[in-house]
Amino acid sequence: MRKFLAVVKREYVQRVRTKFFVVATVLGPLLMAGFTIVPGMMLGMKSGGPTRLAIVDQTGKMYERVAKELMSGKKTSEDNGDQAPDKPPAASNSKERVDQSGKLFRGSYLVEDVPLNSRAIDDVLKDLETRIQNRELDGYVVLPPNLLKEGKAEFRSRNTADLFTGNYVVGAISRAVRGQRLAEARIDEGSVEAASAPIDVKTTGVGGKESKGEVSFYLVFGVGFLIYMTVLLYGQFVLGAVIEEKETRIAEILFSSIRSFPLMMGKLVGVSLVALTQLGIWALAFLIFSAWAAGASSINLHIPAMMFVYFAVFFLMGFFIYATVYAVVGSMVTTTQEGGQLALPVVLMLVSGLYLSFNIIRSPNSSLAFWASMFPFFAPITMLVRIVTETPPLWQILLSLGIGFATIVGLVWLASRIYRVGMLMYGKKATIPEVWHWVRQS
């Protein structure tokens, strides 16, 4: 056991200390932040001063309201009506991003009243066009006399591709018009707002269990994707760790000191801890970042705590199953390049698991669903889908975990056997029959 720990420690410390690990750990969150914040910032960022808007108010009574709304800096999306309220998290992420950038130019509007003063509207507009040409103005809004009835207004700007300003102006005008309409109908604006507060519908499954809903479902795919990415990223590490002693011929000393099973297990655990360390740091960075970006209150996902436990457990199981595949492959080959090619087909099984889960969502208690969630290479995803949709009996979940665990141990055992025999026959890559022979022989 202590020898096993010595191997774990060596694998871990040697890798965590490398420059590569430190750089990747630091760069990861930076890149992540870069890909999420920077595009939003770029879109939202306005070089130069505030947006200068002129308002031509033909109604004679709307200027105050519109100007007020424009200066208020309220979120653009609130009243647009073009944003479905039940967008999935992916979409709402981008929504957050837009809002984020919207905040950036809160209050950065300069509004100017252009009274007609009995001039012809065309003359006034011509003046405004000239001012836009001369870059004294960024755009103007025309509020026609029948605005309240017909609800049509005009917004001209130099840059029509600037969606943010466009949306923002449209939102402000809509709110102003609604307010004015309500006022004219003698309805209290406040009570309308209260009456139209969004409704929170709680979907409840049979048996009174609160449904985990869509969010959990997306998380399942998230976990699947995470396993996939992690395995692709760190499988190479496992491969490298297993091959390292082959290249340096250290194995002979190792084998004269420790049995091959704890050795292989130690390598696997050591490298996996490296992966989990890095992922942990990234997850933490991500949480801090999203809390900062969205405000802690808005990431309330309403997921039961038990769900997170399942996510964690099945993620670990998935990761270890596929990592051991890399260990088995590593024990058969002599270079990491060869190994990567050999391991890829197996890793693609994970993707098949994702495809299967589409079927399982619809019939989570079918026999296909059952067997798919027992097959260790699919289970990390398929069992999670079942848990989220219609939680299967506990014994099934435990059985699936048991099979997964047995698979991991079995694969490590297999890897250690192949490794031990293959090691002693230095050199060439083994063929499958040879490998089979080794397994039986040693």
Binding site: A6, Q14, T248, I253, L254, S256, L424, S442
Partner: protein
């Protein structure tokens, strides 16, 4: 000394890989506090034999018994092994590396640290403790590797070609270190194809060739039994003196030396007496013991 139990016993051990027989029906005994030479040409089966001793591979048949017990993983900690194929982690520092290998032999903590420092100092490597393997010369790496074999103070030290790649100064250092280990009561198995080295260091030898044991026993006794009653001579004059078939069987010229092979049972003193009586100026008169090399060649020919 003789009544002590052998450290290691191989009892009719065989091992083959597919069609290839690496070791065939090998039996031998290694006695404590002695240097045991496992000698034979490359490919004779030395390394396979050693691997069975250190429990890397199991024999197909036969028994390996160490310290009076059947070989098991628990006994591995009492063996130190310097394999022929050297290997150290390239990017690890020497100190860390030794600590890791010590831990694999169940030695850890302050005691490990103390011994690592002592050994590094002894082998002139202390200044390299914080350096990485790749910064060291071949010879230095070899010495580090040797430390990994003895750091845990094993009762049995197995050294596979320990001198290859060392310069003369380090060969000397290594030899002294091995003899110190022997003096400290360790049993040492020395595997080599270099007969001259085995000749100088070993108390007992086992010769193997093509997977078969050719010969084993105490080196001194082997040499005596192979003594061909030869004398190396350097002299002037005395022409025709050696042409007596009753005394001399053969004469060979080795550079300045004349090697005289006496007939079996003849007394070398008789030759010396005749030389002196004939007033020959004798500058060298030496009874020649056969070299291991010669013995080996003779035995191999005999078997073939």
């Amino acid at each position: 000394m003789e009544e002590l139990k052998p450290t290691l016993v191989l009892d009719h051990v065989s091992k083959s890989f597919g069609d290839f027989t690496a070791v065939s029906d090998l039996s031998l005994q290694v006695r404590p506090s002695r240097v045991f030479g496992l000698i034979g040409p490359n490919g004779a089966g030395k390394t396979t034999t050693i691997r069975m001793i250190v429990n890397i591979t199991a024999p197909d048949s036969g028994r390996v018994e160490l310290f009076g017990q059947t070989m098991s993983t628990a006994l591995q900690d009492r063996i130190g092994y310097l394999p022929e194929e050297r290997g150290l982690y390239k990017r690890m520092k020497i100190g860390e590396q030794l600590r890791f290998f010590a831990e694999l032999k169940s030695l850890r903590g302050a005691e490990a640290e103390k011994r690592i420092d002592a050994w590094l100092k002894k082998l002139d490597l202390f200044n390299w403790k914080e350096k990485r393997t790749k910064e060291l010369s071949k010879g230095m790496q070899q010495k580090v590797q040797f430390i990994t074999a003895v750091i845990h103070d094993p009762d049995l030290v197995i050294l596979d070609e320990p001198f290859s790649g060392l310069d003369p100064v380090n060969v000397e250092l290594m030899r002294d270190t091995i003899l110190e280990q022997k003096a400290a009561g360790k049993t040492i198995i020395l595997s080599t194809h270099q007969m001259e080295i085995a000749e100088k260091l070993c108390d007992d030898v086992c010769m193997i060739n093509r997977s078969h044991k050719v010969l084993d026993g105490k080196l001194r006794e082997i040499r005596r039994s192979f003594s061909r009653n030869a004398v190396a001579l350097q002299f002037q004059g005395g022409d025709g003196l050696l042409n007596d078939p009753a005394l001399v069987a053969n004469i060979r010229q080795h550079g300045d030396d004349t090697e005289v092979l006496l007939v079996p049972g003849a007394n070398p003193q008789e030759l010396l007496r005749r030389l002196v009586a004939a007033n020959v100026a004798v500058t060298k008169f030496e009874l020649v013991e056969p070299s291991l090399h010669d013995i080996f060649i003779e035995k191999v020919r005999e078997v073939a």
